[in-house]
């Protein structure tokens, strides 16, 4: 009986290994139109360049993927899976589910030029424990989108320091314009503001320590962030009924000239332009400096590809990762996505000032934060963002909120 079982297992092993030779299984969460098209394109290109490899591509629903990846990495691992940089990949790296791909980052012979050099600015967010665990292929910038015409009409120039920024808000408010629009109904928009205030007040390292749960929320440095936030919230520089609006609905006042700025990701540009704004009256600037001398880190949620450590075809998987890191490939992907390539040798669509500004800003960034809800664990992030929204509606409750978040931190990061 035992022999039969063993031979069955062996037969199964042979069958499955032969069927996988030259087959590359890729799982992605690219269920939305543009990301799907981008992956269709690169998979076709990869197969053309590597005729000996057949790609089997499984598209998962964007939301459902967050659950499915936990399952399939253990039970039915593909050869390549997409995911996100930073602390988002930490649980998988810790559980030994992602393969160490530091060799791709080190070996300049793999790619055209030197990967480490071309992607140096993104290396920090791919590194855990001194090793790299994947290849980033797209990201987009966050920053302040503003109405150029409203700035000109009120004699405001683009602020680069915190004092200028607050002064600009005051001028706009006095002119009857809402300085900053925001829709906090779905909470996450508040985290964009918090992240930037923290990155600028305390720097990237502190922000990472906080999102990794190493620092209490009652820390004086966190208090300092809220002091800065107070300067915007207490005089009413944010849109008044923000808790009732989605991020999308909060675009309306900006389109209609009732609000001047929005701390947002680059995806806000497309709907704003569709609603009639042009390059002549819509602009972008980097979130201003708060504490002088702190290196400017930016918010740039990054999409990445990884090799599961239980993958069957790691050789071809590595070829695919190297392929994904190439400047020309990243250029094409991001043209389809309307986002930014990470490889410094890639260029972006000409004539789009927002992409150009973003590319320039991120290529020179000190480091990349991934956004609060990607950097912090899900439970902490959801409580944190609830707290931020509550604070923005009732700044007087700040102390209570921070104490509550501290309790959550102690529970979540046990």
């Amino acid at each position: 009986m035992k022999k039969v079982i063993i031979s069955l297992i062996m037969m199964f092993g042979i069958i499955s290994s032969t069927s996988f030779a030259g087959t590359l299984v890729i799982n992605t969460d690219t269920s939305d139109a543009a990301p799907k098209e981008a992956f269709e394109y690169i998979i076709k290109k990869f197969e053309e360049e590597n005729p000996d490899v057949t790609v089997k591509w499984n598209v998962f629903d964007h939301e459902g993927y967050k659950q499915s990846i936990r399952n399939f990495l253990n039970t039915d691992p593909p050869d390549v899976a997409n995911w996100y940089a930073g602390n988002r990949m930490l649980p998988f790296v810790r559980a030994g589910l992602f393969e160490d791909v530091s060799d791709i980052w080190k070996d300049s012979g793999w790619v055209d030029g030197n990967l480490s050099e071309n992607m140096e600015h993104a290396k920090k967010s791919m590194t855990i424990g001194g090793k790299q665990w994947g290849i980033p292929y797209t990201y987009y910038q966050w920053g302040v989108y503003y109405r150029k015409d409203l700035f000109t009409a009120n004699g405001i120039s683009v602020p680069t320091t915190w004092d200028d920024f607050v002064a600009a808000c005051a001028t706009l408010k006095a002119a009857g314009i809402t300085p900053i629009t925001i829709g906090s109904k779905y909470l996450w928009t508040t985290a964009g503001v918090f992240d930037y205030l923290n990155l600028r007040t305390n720097g990237y390292e502190f922000h990472m320590d906080l999102t990794l749960g190493k620092v209490p929320y009652t820390d004086p440095k966190v208090q300092a962030v809220f002091d800065k936030w107070d300067e915007l919230v207490k005089p009413g520089y944010f849109l008044e009924n923000h808790a009732a609006l989605s991020w999308q609905e909060a675009l309306t006042p900006m389109v209609n000239g009732e609000a001047a700025m929005y701390v947002m990701g680059n995806f806000a540009v497309a709907p704003l332009k569709e609603a009639g704004l042009r390059d002549s009256n819509l602009g972008f600037f980097q979130f201003p400096e708060i504490t002088p001398g702190i290196p400017m880190a930016e918010e740039a949620p990054t999409d990445t590809v990884h090799i599961p450590s239980k993958a069957k075809n790691k050789t071809d998987a590595k070829r695919f990762l190297i392929f994904m890191s190439r400047a020309d490939v990243q250029e094409e992907i991001n043209k389809i996505l309307g986002q930014l390539p990470i490889n410094k040798n890639s260029s972006v669509k000409k004539g789009d000032p927002f992409l150009a500004a973003g590319l320039n800003m991120l290529n020179n960034a000190y480091a990349m934060a991934q956004f609060y809800d990607r950097d912090a664990p899900a439970q902490m992030a959801s409580e944190g963002m609830k707290g931020f929204q509550e604070y923005m509606s009732n700044p007087d409750r700040r102390q209570k909120i921070l104490e509550r978040l501290e309790k959550v931190r102690q529970r979540v990061y046990k």
Partner: protein, 283 residues
């Protein structure tokens, strides 16, 4: 007669009725009007906050084009038919048989079985979510049209049985006895006597079940994960962009999704109204 016809009421009540009927009708229809308007607009109008004003562009056809080309809407529609029609046939066929048995045969547990069927209607289906999902998963039907159809058939049969049993109960017993005297087998009685007589009830049930199942969203999202089996009601969400809620496309898609039940309703209007009251006449 209850309710008293309106023209027999005091004159003042008639006036109040005449004023408030159109008002409530309009209030009732505003959301549908809003969806129709939104399906004409572009995203620009929506972002600019122009929700109820005149659309700046007439984009119905380009929205329709987007709905059908950007997403597997045709596949979703087909899936909806693949779920709805077998469910309708299955539930109606089963309930004709159970209805006949429960209405015409005297056996000890008759009433208990009938109550179990009725009780099924009173179970809030949200309670069943996790067990049903586990069950379909264990028998390997999770994420398949078959799984969804089987569940719908099982769940709808309760209501259909109540409906058919009451209808068959109301048929004159003499017809059946006459057939029996002539030596017809029990199956022949069911097939030749009962079924032709219940035709109006079957038609009404078919219309009702068609609309119920077509409009189902809950179970489609619980039991189906992938595009291959997703019906249109749940597939509508794929019209959203990665970042943006595409209200204009969602509205257009909703209208497309609503067309088959609406057509069904107008074609079978008589049966539909009959169906709503049929089961209620006799308990």
């Amino acid at each position: 007669m209850f309710p008293t016809p309106i023209h027999q009421r005091p004159i003042i009540n008639q006036y109040i009725y005449k004023i408030f009927l159109p008002i409530s009708l309009i209030i009732w229809l505003i959301p549908i009007f809003g969806i129709l308007m939104t399906s004409i607009r572009g995203l620009g109008d929506i972002t600019a906050g122009n929700m109820w004003g005149t659309p700046s562009e007439f984009l119905l056809f380009s929205n329709l084009y987007d709905v059908f080309t950007n997403t597997p809407m045709i596949k979703y529609t087909l899936n909806s038919f693949k779920v709805t029609i077998p469910t309708m046939l299955g539930a109606v066929a089963l309930s004709c048989m159970t209805g006949f048995a429960l209405a015409r045969y005297k056996f000890k547990t008759n009433l208990i079985i009938f109550f179990i069927f009725i009780a099924g209607n009173f179970v809030p289906f949200q309670i069943l979510m996790i067990p049903v999902r586990d069950l379909t998963f264990k028998v390997g039907l999770y994420n398949t049209i078959t799984g969804l159809v089987l569940f719908h058939v099982a769940f709808q049969t309760g209501f259909c049985t109540l409906f058919m049993r009451n209808f068959i109960k109301a048929l004159p017993q003499e017809l059946i006895e006459a057939a029996r005297m002539d030596g017809a087998s029990e199956f022949k009685i069911f097939w030749k006597i009962i079924l032709p007589l219940t035709r109006p009830a079957i038609a009404a049930l078919c219309v009702l079940i068609f609309t119920f199942i077509w409009n189902d969203y809950f179970w489609a999202t619980v039991l189906i994960q992938g595009d291959h089996a997703m019906p249109i009601t749940a597939g509508l969400k794929s019209l959203n962009g990665q970042w943006i809620t595409a209200y204009h496309l969602l509205s257009t898609g909703s209208i497309v999704a609503a067309i088959p039940p609406v057509i069904m309703f107008f074609l079978m209007q008589k049966h539909f109204i009959a169906g709503l009251t049929l089961g209620a006449t006799k308990g």
